[in-house]
Symmetry: C2
C-alpha cells in the first residue's frame, strides 16, 4: 500500500518530513521570474512557468534527502489552468526524481462525483479506448464531512493503484475548534472523524502497520497529536503547522510511534523562502532550501528514536 | 451582493433552477467526440475540447430560460489541466451569455491557503504589475469543516467583488448523516454548520433578503429542507439531488420562502443526457436539454407561488 512506499523512503532518508510546495509568485527569485516573463509575458502562463522552474530547482536539490513533497493545489489554481499545468508537471517531475507526492487539495464530494476526483488525482481515465493518467499523484488530502460514500471511491484506488489519502481530522488553524472540538456525546467531532479513518483504513491495510487512510492533524495542537497517536494506531499522520504556523519539534514528536514512524511533518514557507531568511544570493535559493531541510530534519530527529521498523 | 444578481435572474426567467454541467465523456454525443478526436487525438486535450463544445451547445440553447449553470470541478479535473482549461472557458462563455455561474468545487483550507482558493475562483491575482482574473466565477461551493478562518477570505471577496459562496450544510448523499446528523448538545452537526452560515452571512448581507453566504442542502432530505428554511432566513440554498438522486419537486419546494425565492435547484445528468432518454438524434442534444429544463421548471413551479419580491 501507498504509505508503505512512503515509510520506506522515510527510513531510507531517516527523514520524516515533507516539503510543502505552495509557491506564491512572491517567493520566486526575481531572476527566475524575469526569464519567464521575458518569454511568456506577465501572464498566468509566465507566472506558472516561473513557478515550475522554481519548484524543479528545489526538487533537484532536496530529492536525495527528503522523502516527499506536498504541492498545495490552491497556489496553482491561483494562476488558472496554466497554474494547474504547473501542478501536474511538478508532480511528475518529483516522481521521476524518486519522491513521493502528496497533493494537498482537500477534495470532497458525494460518491459519484468523488469518483471523478479519485480518477483525476489517483487514477486513470478512459478517452475512448485510450487509458490516460491525469495527475497521477501518490496521495491526496480529502475532507470527510460527507461520510463514507465520499471516501469509498478513493479506497478502491488506494487498494488497486497503491495510493493513499489523508483525511482532515484536526487542522492547524486557529478556528479549527469551532466545529472540530465540539462534543458529539463524549467524543469531539475530530475524534469522531479519527475513528472513521481507522474504520475506513481497515479496508485498505498496509504491510508496515499503517493503512492507506491517513489523517491530517495539526502541529499546533500537540496534546491532540499525542491523544490521536494513542487512539489511532493504524492511521499515518500528515502534520502541518511546523515552523511558520508555530508548531515546535517537541510538540510534533507526539505524532510519532515508538519506532519514530507514523507521521510526516510538513514545512512549506520556511523551505521555499530560506534564501530570504538567510539573505543569501537569489541564485542560492535551492541550496538554501536544502540547508533548511537539513536543519528541520535535525530539529525533529532530536526528539525521536532512530527511525526503523 | 452576488445572490442579488442571481435572484434577479431567477425572477426574470421565473425559473429557480440551475443546470449542473458535470460532463463525463460518455455524455457527449459521438459526432462531437469524433470531431475533437480527429483534430486533437484521443488525448486529454481531445476529450476536453469535446466537452467544451458540448457545454457551449447546451449553454446556447438554455441561456434565455435558465438563470445559472453549475460546473462541477471534479469532472474537469478528471481530464487533467486540459480539463481545467475547459472549466475556465465554460465559465467565461456562460457569463458572456448572461448566465450566473456557480463553480461546484467544495474548496476548503486554512486561512492563508483559502485566500489562494478565493483568489483563484472569485478574485484576481497580481502577476508583477498586471492584475489578472484566473477563473472569475460568480459563486463557489465550499466546505466549512475548518471554521471561520477558512471562510473569512471568501467573505472579503463576496463584499468587494460581488461574489457568493455556498457552504456544505446537509449533503444529498446516503452517508451524509454519518457526521452531519450527529448531535452536538441539542443540535446536529449540520444545524451547527447552518448557524455558522447565518453568522458569516451577517457580515456580507444582500439587498434582497439573502446574504452572500448560501448553504448546500440536499433535495433528498425534504424534512431538513423545511427545517433549515425556517431556521436560516437569510441563507440562500443550493439544492442538489433533484431527479436522478431521487429528490422530487414537492420535496424541494420546502427549500423556498413564501415568495418562491430563497433557493435554486440543480439538475445535471437529466439535462445533459436528455437526448439519450428521449432517444432523439444526437444532434438534437442541446434542444433536448432545453426541453428537460422546461419540464423541470414547470414541475418545480407547480409547487411554488409566483416568484416575486
Amino acid at each position: 500500500m501507498s504509505f508503505d512506499r512512503l515509510i520506506e523512503k522515510i527510513i531510507k532518508t531517516q527523514n520524516p518530513t515533507v516539503v510543502g510546495l505552495d509557491p506564491k509568485l512572491d517567493y520566486v527569485p526575481e531572476y527566475v521570474k524575469k526569464k519567464a516573463f521575458k518569454k511568456y509575458g506577465k501572464t498566468l502562463k509566465g507566472a506558472s512557468k516561473a513557478i515550475l522552474e522554481f519548484n524543479k530547482g528545489i526538487i533537484d536539490e532536496i530529492c536525495d534527502i527528503v522523502p516527499a513533497i506536498k504541492p498545495q493545489a490552491a497556489y496553482y489554481e491561483m494562476y488558472g489552468y496554466e497554474g494547474v499545468k504547473t501542478l501536474s508537471k511538478t508532480i511528475s517531475y518529483a516522481q521521476k526524481k524518486g519522491m513521493f507526492v502528496i497533493t494537498d487539495a482537500k477534495r470532497n464530494d458525494i460518491g459519484a462525483t468523488m469518483e471523478a476526483y479519485a480518477t483525476a488525482h489517483l487514477g486513470s481515465v478512459m478517452v475512448d479506448d485510450e487509458e490516460i493518467t491525469p495527475f497521477g499523484t501518490d496521495a491526496l488530502t480529502v475532507n470527510g464531512y460527507l461520510g463514507t460514500d465520499g471516501i469509498e471511491p478513493l479506497l478502491k484506488l488506494c487498494r488497486e493503484n497503491d495510493k493513499g489519502i489523508f483525511v482532515l481530522v484536526k487542522t492547524s488553524n486557529k478556528s479549527s475548534g469551532e466545529l472540530q472540538d465540539l462534543k458529539i456525546g463524549d467524543k469531539t467531532v475530530y475524534e469522531t472523524m479519527g475513528d472513521m479513518c481507522e474504520k475506513w483504513g481497515a479496508t485498505a491495510p498496509g504491510k508496515l502497520g499503517y493503512s492507506s487512510v491517513g489523517a491530517v492533524v495539526g502541529a499546533t495542537y500537540p496534546e491532540q497529536l499525542a491523544e490521536m497517536r494513542a487512539k489511532l494506531p493504524n492511521t499515518f499522520f500528515l502534520v502541518p503547522g511546523y515552523g511558520a504556523q508555530g508548531g515546535g519539534a517537541e510538540g510534533v514528536s507526539k505524532a510519532f510511534d515508538a519506532n519514530g514512524l507514523g507521521a510526516v511533518v510538513n514545512s512549506s514557507r520556511a523551505v521555499m523562502c530560506a534564501y530570504k531568511k538567510e539573505e543569501c544570493e537569489e541564485t542560492e535559493y535551492a541550496r538554501a532550501a536544502r540547508r533548511e531541510c537539513i536543519r528541520m530534519k535535525e530539529d525533529i530527529l532530536s526528539y525521536l528514536p532512530k527511525i526503523s521498523l
